[in-house]
Amino acid sequence: MFRKIMAPVDLGHLDRIRKALAASADLATHYRIPVCYVGVTTAAPGPIAHTPREFTAKLKRFAEDQAATHGIETEAKACISHDPSVDLEDTLMKAIEEIGADLVVAGSHVPGFADHIFASHSGYLAAHTSISVFIVR
C-alpha cells in the first residue's frame, strides 16, 4: 500500500513525539517498508549539535537505534534550513520529494487558539502535500 514512511523528528523533543515514533514503526512493520527520519537543523550551532555534520551523525544514530528497537529498516535525512522558524514546512515538503516518501507520520499538539492563525507543522503538511499524512496527537 505504501513504499516509504517519512517521520519528521525533533531531536530536542523526542518525548513529545513518542507516540508518533511508535506509530511509524508499527506501520513500517505492518507494510514492511522503511522509515526515513527527517530532522531539520540550522547552519548555526544549536542545542542539539554544534555543526550540521554533528547533527547528521546524531540523526543517523537515532535512526539506527529505532531500527534496532523495532526491527525495521530505517534511514536518516538531515536538512539545513536558513530560517526554520519560518520555512520548516517548506523544508519538510522538499524532503518528502527527495526521499520519495508516500506516507508521513508526524506528531502534533492538540490544536489551540494559535492554530487558527498559524497552522501546526503537521497540519500544514496535510493541507499542502499530495501524499497521505498521519497526524498523531
Binding site: 548555526a44 550551532p45 544549536g46 555543526t51 555534520r53 539545513i80
Partner: protein, 537 residues
C-alpha cells in the same frame, strides 16, 4: 547557491570544547497561545533597560537631551584619537587577513559551501549596512566637505574643512571633499563591520559557539563569557541595535515626510510621520514573518536593483564622462589623502576630525553588532579572503561609485552651473534638489523616496532578526512571535520618542555605545587572530 538540504557542505573545523549547551539558560514558556524561547537574563534586562531609558528620556527630556549630547560629544572629542586608531586597526587587520594564509580558512569548515549566491548575499549585507546612509549623505556630505574646504577660512580653528582645506582652489577642494567623504563611507566602516561579522561567523560556524556577540570573546574571557560579562556584552548589543534602529526610524520618518512634502505636497505632521513609521514597521513585520529567504533577502534584492537603476540613471543623464573619469580621480584622491585623514595624532582640523570622523566611527561601531551579526548569519561557506574582499573592498568601491555619481553631480551643479539650491536645502531634501536638475525628475525622485523607505525596511527587518537571535541566547530558530515582538517594539519606541521628544537624545546615547564597543572590538581582533590560528587551512 548551495542546496540547503546538502549536508556534505561542512567539513573539518576546530570546535571549542565547552560544557555550555546552547539554550541552557533559556526560558521556554508560553504566553497565551504563543510559545517563547528567551535567554535569561538578556531578554528581560534588554527589554526593561530600553523601556526605562525611553521613560526617563520622555520624563526628563531637557536633562536627558543635554546629558547624552554632552556624553557623545565628550567621547568623540576626547577620544577621537582612539576611534581613529581603532578604525585603522580594523582596516589593517582585514587587509592583512586577505594576504595572509588565514585567508584560506573557510567559515563553516573546509568543505562548506556558501548558503547564498553572490547577488543575494551582497544585496543583504549592503542593504542592512549602509544603504539608507548613502541615500541621505550621498549628496549632502560631498557638498559639505567641498564647501568647507574651498571656503576662505579653510584651515582655521573655526573651519570644518578636512585637513588644511584648500581655500579658493576649487579643483583641490573637490578632490579633498570627495576623498573625505569616501573616507567616511569606504574601507573604515566596512572594516568595522567585517571584524564583527568575521568574529561571529568564525566562533559560531567553526568553533561551535552560539551566534551571539559574547561568543567572540571566548578566547579572552573563557567560560566566564556565559555569565555576566557575556550578559553585559549581549545587552549592550541589543541596546545599541534597538536604539540605533528606532531613532533612525523616527528621524528617518521626519526626513521621509519632508521628502514627500517636497514631492507630493503631503504635509509634515505627526500623523504623517506616525503613518510612515507604522507603514515601514508593517512592511518590516511582513518581511520577518516571511523569513530570511522569502522576506529579508527578496526585499534586499529589490532594494539593490532599485538603487542600481537610480545610480545608472544619474550616470546616464548626468555628466557621464566626468563621472567615469571622476570615479578614478576620486579613487586616486582617496588613496592620496587616506594616510593623512586616518592619522589620529598631530592634526589641527579638530572640527572635522572630532565632529565628522570620530562621530562617524562611533556611529559605525555602535551599528556593528547589528550589521556584523546579520552579515555573519548569511556568510557561512565563504573563505576568510573571499569574505573580506566582498564585505570590505566591493562595498567600498560601490560607495566610491555612489558618492562620485551623486556627490560629484551635485558639486558639478554647484561649481559649473551655479546651482546653489542643493547646498542651501535641508539635509533630507538635498538628494531631491539634485535630481530636480536632471531630466525625468518625477520618476527619479519617486524611486528615491521608495528607496529611502525600503532601505529603512531592510534595516528594520534584519535588525529585528538580530535582536531576536541575541535575546534567544544565539538560537536562530526561536518562535516566530519573538521576532514580531521586537519589530513592533522598535516601531513603538520610535513613535513614543517621535511624539514625546527625545529621538536625538537617544540616538546620541546609541552612538555613545560606540566607545565601549570600540574597546570590545579591539579585543575581538585579537580573538579572531587566535581563533583563525587554530583552524585547519
Amino acid at each position: 547557491m548551495a542546496d540547503p538540504s546538502d549536508l556534505t557542505a561542512d567539513g573539518q573545523t576546530n570546535l571549542i570544547d565547552t560544557d555550555y549547551e546552547i539554550g541552557q539558560d533559556n526560558i521556554q514558556t508560553r504566553i497565551g497561545p504563543f510559545g517563547l524561547d528567551i535567554h535569561n537574563p538578556v531578554f528581560a534586562v534588554s527589554g526593561l533597560t530600553i523601556i526605562a531609558f525611553v521613560i526617563l528620556t520622555l520624563a526628563l527630556q531637557e536633562e536627558a537631551g543635554a546629558f547624552f549630547a554632552w556624553l557623545r560629544a565628550a567621547l568623540t572629542s576626547t577620544f577621537d584619537w582612539f576611534f581613529l586608531l581603532a578604525g585603522n586597526v580594523f582596516v589593517l587587520l582585514c587587509l592583512a587577513l586577505i594576504v595572509s594564509p588565514y585567508g584560506s580558512v573557510r567559515l563553516g569548515g573546509r568543505d562548506a559551501r556558501p548558503d547564498y549566491g553572490y547577488g543575494g548575499w551582497f544585496a543583504m549585507l549592503f542593504a542592512a549596512g549602509m544603504g539608507i546612509g548613502l541615500m541621505f549623505y550621498g549628496v549632502s556630505e560631498p557638498i559639505s566637505h567641498f564647501s568647507a574646504a574651498v571656503a576662505d577660512d579653510a584651515g582655521s580653528a573655526d573651519s570644518w574643512a578636512p585637513l588644511a582645506g584648500a581655500a579658493g582652489e576649487e579643483y583641490a577642494a573637490r578632490r579633498l571633499g570627495m576623498a573625505a567623504t569616501i573616507f567616511h563611507w569606504g574601507l573604515h566602516p566596512w572594516a568595522t563591520y567585517a571584524v564583527v561579522a568575521l568574529g561571529l561567523a568564525l566562533f559560531s560556524y567553526n568553533k561551535g559557539l552560539p551566534l551571539t556577540m559574547r561568543s567572540v570573546f571566548y578566547p579572552i574571557f573563557g567560560e566566564r563569557i556565559w555569565g555576566w560579562p557575556g550578559h553585559v556584552i549581549d545587552t549592550l548589543a541589543v541596546f545599541a541595535t534597538l536604539f540605533g534602529l528606532a531613532t533612525s526610524l523616527g528621524l528617518g520618518a521626519e526626513q521621509a515626510n519632508a521628502g514627500l512634502e517636497f514631492l507630493f505636497g503631503i504635509p509634515v505632521t505627526n500623523v504623517s510621520k506616525v503613518v510612515l513609521i507604522v507603514g515601514i514597521t508593517g512592511i518590516a513585520l511582513a518581511s520577518v514573518v516571511a523569513g530570511l529567504d522569502a522576506g529579508v533577502k527578496r526585499l534586499s534584492e529589490i532594494n539593490l536593483v532599485l538603487a542600481f537603476l537610480l545610480l545608472l540613471f544619474v550616470f546616464a543623464v548626468g555628466p557621464t564622462m566626468k563621472m567615469v573619469s571622476g570615479f578614478f580621480l576620486n579613487l586616486g584622491a582617496y588613496a592620496e589623502y587616506l594616510p593623512a585623514l586616518s592619522n589620529p595624532f598631530g592634526r589641527d582640523d579638530d572640527n572635522f576630525r572630532q565632529g565628522w570622523t570620530a562621530f562617524y566611527w562611533a556611529w559605525w561601531i555602535s551599528w556593528s553588532p547589528f550589521v556584523g551579526m546579520f552579515i555573519a548569519r548569511v556568510s557561512r561557506g565563504r573563505t576568510v579572503r573571499e569574505f573580506i574582499v566582498c564585505v570590505l573592498l566591493i562595498p567600498s568601491l560601490v560607495s566610491v561609485l555612489w558618492m562620485t555619481a551623486f556627490g560629484g553631480t551635485a558639486i558639478n551643479q554647484l561649481v559649473n552651473d551655479g546651482y546653489t539650491a542643493v547646498a542651501d536645502a535641508a539635509l533630507e531634501l538635498q538628494l531631491f534638489m539634485m535630481l530636480s536638475e536632471l531630466p525625468l525628475t518625477a520618476i527619479s525622485s519617486f524611486i528615491g523616496i521608495v528607496l529611502v523607505i525600503v532601505f529603512f525596511v531592510t534595516s528594520s527587518d534584519s535588525g529585528s532578526l538580530v535582536i531576536d537571535t541575541i535575546t534567544a541566547g544565539g538560537k536562530v530558530d526561536a518562535p516566530l512571535p519573538q521576532r514580531v515582538f521586537w519589530a513592533v517594539f522598535e516601531g513603538l519606541v520610535a513613535i513614543a520618542l517621535l511624539l514625546g521628544g527625545g529621538l536625538t537624545a537617544l540616538q546620541a546615547a546609541s552612538v555613545s555605545t560606540g566607545f565601549p564597543f570600540a574597546i570590545v572590538l579591539l579585543l575581538a581582533c585579537y580573538a579572531i587572530v587566535r581563533g583563525l590560528a587554530s583552524e585547519p587551512r
